[in-house]
């Protein structure tokens, strides 16, 4: 059975159809890449599934249970965590406090939540920076801090919105490694990413969105050769 199932999902902003009749399923243990030109509706899909936006139409279900109408905090409790495209750390708190806040979801006592947060910071290689203010971290560190915060809620499904945006090649390499490790821990991952080489390498399957519609869904090597995909990215002549 699919872990996450999306059927007929649509979102209309005024006259704009940001997401149009989107259906897909996500299987346990999979890494799914969501790509598409700017404005294709990728982040909107994330916001719809994680409860930050209410869909205009459609069904979203996690192991058969509907997620439509749940607030973001309730979706997190069901086991779906996310990061933001533009990082949103708790700026005046330290890295450790940032992750501890997330660990409080399953651990009421502060010392235990803190111990759990330390473990997760080590996991994303931020232990050395645990006492630093979140605002003082580099972008790469802030991106990892967001992932750590999401992991501290103990998700089954992790949504990463451009985890590699703005990173240099070495940092991208590390981020890919981290995604692989997270998946080995049994977390299903869905990610939006513009860095093609990275997403082709780490995804098991790729969905391509264009103007809010799904134009391709398949293995990375098949998707890059799809005529519709080439047309969407490069125009009619290239296809």
């Amino acid at each position: 059975m699919a872990l996450l199932e999306v059927r007929g999902l649509s979102k209309v902003f005024g006259g704009l159809r940001a997401v149009s009749d989107l259906s897909f399923a996500l299987h346990p243990g999979e890494v799914l890449g969501l790509i598409g030109p700017n404005g294709a509706g990728k982040t909107t899909v994330f916001n719809l599934i994680t409860g930050f936006l209410a869909p205009t139409a459609g069904q979203i279900s996690l192991e058969g249970q509907s997620l439509v109408g749940l607030k973001p905090h309730a979706v997190v409790k069901k086991g779906i965590a996310r990061t933001f495209q533009v990082v949103k750390p708790f700026r005046h708190l330290t890295a450790l406090e940032n992750v501890t806040l997330a660990a409080f979801l399953h651990e009421r006592s502060r010392p235990r939540a803190q111990a759990r947060a330390q473990q997760i910071l080590a996991r994303v290689q931020l232990s050395a920076r645990s006492a630093a203010g979140a605002a003082d971290l580099t972008l790469s560190e802030q991106k990892r801090l967001e992932i750590a915060r999401a992991l501290a809620t103990d998700p089954r499904l992790l949504f990463l919105d451009e985890p590699m945006g703005g990173l240099n090649p070495t940092e991208i390499e590390r981020a890919c490694e981290l995604v692989r490790e997270i998946r080995q821990d049994g977390v299903t991952v869905i990610l939006v990413e513009h860095h093609m080489r990275a997403i082709m390498r780490i995804s098991d399957r790729i969905i391509v969105l264009h103007h809010g519609e799904k134009i391709a869904d398949g293995a990375p090597q098949d998707v890059v050769q799809d005529r519709n995909v080439i047309r969407a990215y490069l125009g009619e002549r290239a296809a």
């Binding site: 994680t50 409860g51 930050f52 607030k71 973001p72 905090h73 309730a74 997190v76 409790k77 965590a81 996310r82 933001f84 949103k88 750390p89 708790f90 700026r91 005046h92 708190l93 406090e97 501890t100 806040l101 997330a102 409080f104 979801l105 009421r108 502060r110 915060r149 999401a150 501290a152 809620t153």
Partner: protein, 314 residues
């Protein structure tokens, strides 16, 4: 260090009435404690969660009226009435929170301002209940005996000790919240509301709980006001100026700090009194000037600034 300071403060508070028999100074000390209480409770929501309420006088007024009315019309002991005032204040806060916390940014502040005005106008015009602008008066407080002796309500000393208990409890509550999961959640709400939701914090419920807690304490303060002044009218207890003063105390003292409100109350009540003596209504100019200086040069408040000073040194 902090413990030593707290112990010295408590000792000073406990012995202060022995140092002066002057009723004016006693009144000033009671006012400082009263404002500490209000500043501390405003701070629970405004300081920790960054939700700036401009309408906290609503809860003060409700506490004052509940205490007055339950004594005058139902004959309930005013001390139980005070507690009832806090409870009714908190109950009134819950629906306000559930509605207003769906609003983001400055809209919550504006909504609290509107609610405060609406309630003041209702209190002015609902004459069967509140006696309108005439106000309510208690001529005689029922005798209460404590440790075998009957308390003399004509003296200011028992009110002083009542104010000490309330203010210290409010500061202890602030301290407890700052160490609790609730405090951590409120900080998350202040820092980034989307991220707070993303880590599973119910940001509406968290803020409603903080508002209710804050309103409960302000309601108690309202009850204290009613007993101490023995007179309430809508413009005295629902005034916008009271709401704004609570914000000032918390900001000048230091947002989200335990000791900030008492520092803010001491400084602002003193400044108010010193300049009122010499400049009458003109004292507000100095008050305003002082506020501007603090916000410009000490945005973390006096206590916050001191804490930073000690941290940087040590």
């Amino acid at each position: 260090m902090t413990r030593l300071l707290a112990a010295a403060g408590l000792l000073l508070l406990a012995s202060a009435p022995l140092l002066t028999g002057n009723p004016f100074f006693q009144h000033l000390m009671i006012m400082v404690l009263f404002w500490t209480l209000l500043g501390a409770s405003w701070n629970l929501l405004g300081g920790f969660a960054g939700q700036v309420s401009f309408g906290h006088a609503v809860f003060l007024g409700i506490g004052a009226y509940v205490t007055m009315l339950s004594y005058l019309s139902l004959g309930v002991s005013p001390f139980l009435g005070m507690l009832a005032g806090g409870i009714v204040g908190a109950m009134f806060a819950v629906p306000i929170g559930l509605i207003c916390f769906r609003l983001r940014g400055p809209y919550f502040s504006l909504a609290t301002l509107a609610v405060a005005e609406i309630v003041r106008l209702v209190a002015l015009n609902w004459e069967q209940l509140t006696a309108g602008p005439m106000g309510l008066l208690i001529t005689h407080l029922p005798p209460v005996s404590f440790a075998g002796a009957t308390i003399d309500w004509e003296s200011k000393v028992p009110f002083y000790y009542l104010a000490v208990i309330l203010a210290v409890s409010a500061m202890a509550l602030t301290f407890a919240v700052s160490r609790s999961r609730l405090g951590a959640y409120l900080t998350a709400v202040r820092e980034d509301i989307d991220s707070a939701e993303a880590v599973g914090i119910d940001t509406v419920r968290t803020r409603v709980v903080a508002l209710a807690l804050s309103a409960f304490v302000v309601g108690l303060a309202g009850g204290f006001y009613a007993l101490y002044f023995r007179y309430v009218d809508p413009d005295a207890v629902f005034a916008i100026s009271l709401s704004v003063e609570m914000v000032f105390i918390a900001v000048v003292g230091g947002l989200a700090t335990t000791a900030g409100p008492i520092v803010g109350a001491v400084v602002l009540v003193s400044i108010g009194e010193i300049f009122r003596d010499r400049f009458q209504a003109g004292h507000l100019i100095f008050y305003g000037l002082f506020m501007m200086l603090v916000i410009r040069y000490l945005p973390e408040g006096i206590w916050g600034g001191l804490q930073r000073l000690f941290r940087d040194r040590g």
